[in-house]
């Protein structure tokens, strides 16, 4: 069943992130696609994640689809103006790609080509409006399309904002994204199910399926690094301690992710696993979570 049908029929859904690598070798992506097929509903393909130049998300989305794994084509506004964004969306539609995750994207200065000119002609909300317009058969300038796409657009939210202002801004923006046509939401990584439950209460009125983000921990160092450097991620001290004391860090990391998923399962409509290099361990994590 497709991501759209699953979400619209109220099913619990698992998605996972697949990151294209730098270069033309697609062996690993194909291996991951084969491993994940049948275990997850759809795979997100990241778009030059962290502003690091890699193989493109459109082509990898197509490769996944050819391998029988439904893609979620992630699209950021950092590298393309409104002409290129719309054109790539039309291309995606022709390649049979339905799901698009509209993102603003990180700034270029954080990546491996910091001298690049950042575009940001549009942002996530405006891109969602453009996708809706294309679905209606018109481009952003109001010109009629010959043949129109039928995208299932999604967006992201960061529920772990660290100040009142930042959290309120996230909720306001999420509402704007839903109003602009987002039909599903994937979140930044969650490590505390209780505070996520509070967030879900705040946004339940938006009536949009939410997939909670999960990043499995590989080490205590990784957890501390994310706490220090990634906005919205807060790994609680007891989990860091657990990772630190673990004899088998891989097993413990997988178990923590699985336990978290069991808790999150009852709070929202799906889980989005961002394995960050552990893509091949996703089936193990799902097994451990009983999903």
């Amino acid at each position: 069943m497709s991501l759209q049908s699953s979400l619209e029929s109220g099913k619990f859904v698992i998605t996972a992130e697949v990151a294209p690598l730098k270069g033309t070798d697609t062996t690993e992506i194909i291996e991951v696609a084969e491993l994940l097929q049948g275990r997850i509903t759809a795979a997100n393909v990241t778009d030059q994640q962290s502003s690091v130049m890699r193989l493109g998300s459109l082509v990898v989305s197509y490769l996944l689809k050819e391998k029988g794994l439904e893609p979620v084509f992630q699209m950021t506004c950092r590298d393309r103006n409104r002409i290129a964004l719309q054109s790539d969306l039309l291309s995606a539609s022709v390649l049979g790609i339905k799901n698009v995750l509209a993102l603003t994207g990180d700034v270029a200065s954080l990546g491996d080509h910091p001298q690049a000119k950042p575009v940001f002609d549009l942002d996530s909300v405006l891109l969602l409006q453009v996708i809706r317009r294309l679905n209606e058969g018109y481009d952003m300038a109001g010109n009629e399309l010959k043949g129109k796409p039928s995208f299932f657009p999604g967006a992201v939210v960061n529920p772990g904002a660290d100040t009142e202002a930042a959290l309120e801004l996230q909720i306001i923006k999420m509402e704007k994204k839903v109003a602009a046509g987002a039909r599903f939401i994937q979140t930044q990584a969650i490590y505390d199910a209780d505070s996520f439950a509070k967030f879900m209460k705040r946004v339940e009125g938006f009536k949009v399926p939410v997939l909670a983000g999960v990043i499995p921990l590989k080490s205590a160092g990784m957890a501390r690094f994310m706490n220090k450097n990634v906005a919205g991620i807060l790994v609680p001290e007891h989990l860091i301690k657990k990772m630190n004391e673990a004899e088998n860090k891989t097993e413990t990391g997988i178990q923590i992710a699985a336990d978290l998923m069991k808790e999150l399962k009852d709070i929202c409509q799906g889980i989005h696993i961002m394995a960050i290099g552990w893509e091949k361990k996703v089936p193990q994590i799902l097994d451990a979570a009983g999903l």
């Binding site: 994207g105 909300v125 660290d162 100040t163 202002a165 801004l169 704007k176 930044q188």
Partner: protein, 216 residues
């Protein structure tokens, strides 16, 4: 308001004027003086450094406002020393450099990098407050410009990357959207945040821009 400049590294300046033995120096009495990048003392220091590098300085002056058309008169008054030089090195913003070039047939080189139009914020800090986008939107945003002060120029709301009120992408800067939120809250106008924003019309920034003045 100041046109914010920084001095180019001396090595870069030396390379620019590599072929010139005799150099005429011009400083600016306005922004570059305030910022100590091209005032009288910086011009004198540049003269010393170039002389140490075996250049001959045929003369120097600090024009009150180099970007003003009065620069023509200042150049005319110093024709002899300027004519004796192989080039003119200008220690002002790019506007001043171009104004000098307009009124001189000598090669003209910049000694400064022009950074941004700045406004004094916290004491000792100059902040970029406007990128001259051509369709001012700050009425929507509590008079704080997200086009300029948000790292991504977001018009529709925060990106979610703020940490402790600072921009994730540029931690030395406050998150523009948190500033907008706090100010709107103080004004009792938080509803403004829910208003939809239109995509920006970048044709307003089509370069080069020109405005024809109509006589009064």
């Amino acid at each position: 308001m100041l046109m914010v400049t920084e001095q180019k590294p001396l090595a870069e300046v030396s390379q620019l004027i590599d072929k010139c033995h005799k150099v005429y120096l011009i400083g600016c009495g306005t922004c570059a003086t305030t910022l100590h990048t091209g005032g009288k003392s910086e011009v004198i220091e540049m003269k010393r450094q170039l002389e140490d590098a075996a250049k001959e300085i045929t003369g120097w002056m600090v024009i009150p406002t180099t970007c003003d058309t009065l620069t023509r008169e200042a150049l005319a008054e110093n024709t002899a020393a300027i004519e004796a030089a192989d080039c003119i090195l200008v220690m002002s913003c790019a506007l001043g450099v171009q104004m000098v070039a307009r009124f001189s047939d000598k090669p003209v080189y910049p000694a400064l990098n022009t950074l941004f139009l700045g406004m004094e914020g916290n004491p000792g800090f100059l902040n970029e407050a406007c990128i001259q986008c051509g369709e001012c939107v700050i009425g929507q945003y509590a008079a704080i410009c997200p086009v300029t002060t948000c790292a991504k120029g977001l018009l529709t709301g925060a990106c979610g990357g703020a940490r402790g009120g600072k921009c994730e992408q540029q931690p030395e800067h406050d998150c523009a959207w948190i500033l907008i939120y706090e100010r709107l809250k103080k004004l009792g106008m938080l509803d403004k945040l829910k208003e939809a924003a239109s995509p920006k019309d970048y044709s307003k920034m089509k370069r080069p821009r020109q405005l024809e003045l109509t006589p009064l």
